[in-house]
Amino acid sequence: MREERIPILRGEGVTKVFGFGRHKTVAVDHVDFTFYAGELASIVGESGSGKTTLAKVLLGLINETEGTIYYHEQKRDISTHRKKQEYWRGIQAIFQDPFSSYNIFNKIDSVLLDCINMRGGRHLSREKKTELMAEACSFVNLKYEEMTNKYPFELSGGQQQRLMIARIFLLKPKILLADEPTSMIDACSRATILDYLMKLRDETGMTMIFITHDIGLAYYVSDSVYIMEKGKFVESGSADEVILNPKQPYTKRLISDVPKIYEEWDLSTV
């Protein structure tokens, strides 16, 4: 696996501090990371460990207090709105709660049309656009004929999350940041969502960053895993390395906290 790996998103000493003085909270504390092109990386940690804050920093939704992020080996510049939009063409996200990810006033068509327009498809004919939308819907096994003229809130959680993936399919970003994409939906739809994400990666070769508290999920999908505790990365490496031979007590605890079926689940260590 030691072939040429191109870093696509790299961070050095990224820090985010909320508040001042007495009320200071260091949410992300000098983390270094390198995400390579085509890689699937997971960031795992319990609630309050700073995973989502890091995600927001990566997306450029909030500014880092300290440190630098390199995008395509160049310092990321999102100082103006135009530059930010340009950056978002390369990085997109799927959020935890599909029910609040959509504008409730917009129909599904306009959600998907927005994506086509953003990719520079504004000049395309209506038929071509419809064709693209139908293709995106069929990619995630939704029927476009049933979707058109509906509002996102008329769909179930799993369907909404799938529509989110259809959006990503149209946008074809370089990086996809998935913040707990499966925590709000049931175990059965979870397998479906993961399936489509994997398919998407195989087809487009995009980099995916999974943010999750479920170490089982991280182990299943990812190539490399970063374990986050209180804003710091305490352990990182390939998935097999970290999860089958954890070194840090924190990682061991996270693994022992997940219910298992083939091994005894030890409840005494709470």
Binding site: D186, A187, C188, A191, Y220, V258, L267
Partner: protein, 336 residues
Amino acid sequence: MGKVILEVKDLTTKYVTRFKEDVYAVDHVSLKVEEGKSLGIAGESGCGKSTLALSLMGYYFPPLHYMSGEIIIDGRNISTMKPDDIRKSILGTEIAYIPQAAMNALNPTQRVIRFIEDVIQAHYPEKTKKEIYELACYSFETVGLSREVLNKYPVELSGGMKQRTVIAVSTILFPKVLIADEPSSALDVTSQKMVIKMLRDLMEKGIIKSMIFITHELPLLYNVTDDIMVMYAGQIVERGTAREAVFDPLHPYSKGLMGSIIVPEEGLRSVKLTAIPGVPPNLKNPPAGCRFAERCKYVRTECRVLNVQLKELDGSGRAYRCVYSEEELRRAYKNA
């Protein structure tokens, strides 16, 4: 065989929609929970798990309506009682409920102790504040919370603490049956484990006599409960002990659920997750015959016509709902 605490016979409840359509969300469900035992209910979203939980409490208000069947708690039939009587004499003392969004169950403008006073005084108006405080302290100790929490507002607590507070409050009157509806789905794995341990402790200490645990996470259910019941489209499709339901499922749907399990154990990466294709049927007009037929790999023509009843397997409490016989199903899984 222990004493039966909760027995449900052929319970059917329905929702009536705005357009006067009937949706049978719980369709002829029968179950039994013995003293000291716990029952798990599994199934995907929209299969009627939560509606079953609400129906079990006998506390119906529109759009949920009671249709037929009996709910017997400790020898007392509550299905025909008036909602007001149920609220006063059943909820909290006989049967308690932990909702899915326990985070939102607490009143943000009240300190926790005020909330507890309200709950207890609704049942025992003669109790003084001091007695209630003592009781609350005892209850909080069993769930591992300090008594400082009593004087806090809910916003000051973390998600896991709120969940534990809710459990402490709902078990404060020593209910016979505790219904936990996805108590840990909004929590991270660490808090989830804490909640599970607490529920187990409550059972061991005899504060609650039996438990019904609802979730879609099979590995969790396997570790928590003695028996598992799998629901699909308002009906029970499989019933058995936890081990049987997880490692030796009979119904194709339970078999399919097993394919979507994720556990961080060696060998997981080589397994391919298999999701069940399609979506559950619309219960406004459920399909004739087997409700799972549309998504089933092993579907036959008679599946779409025959209305299969739950088949009991020789007295062990094991049951499944499928036209195939046990041997046929096992053979089909072996060849797959």
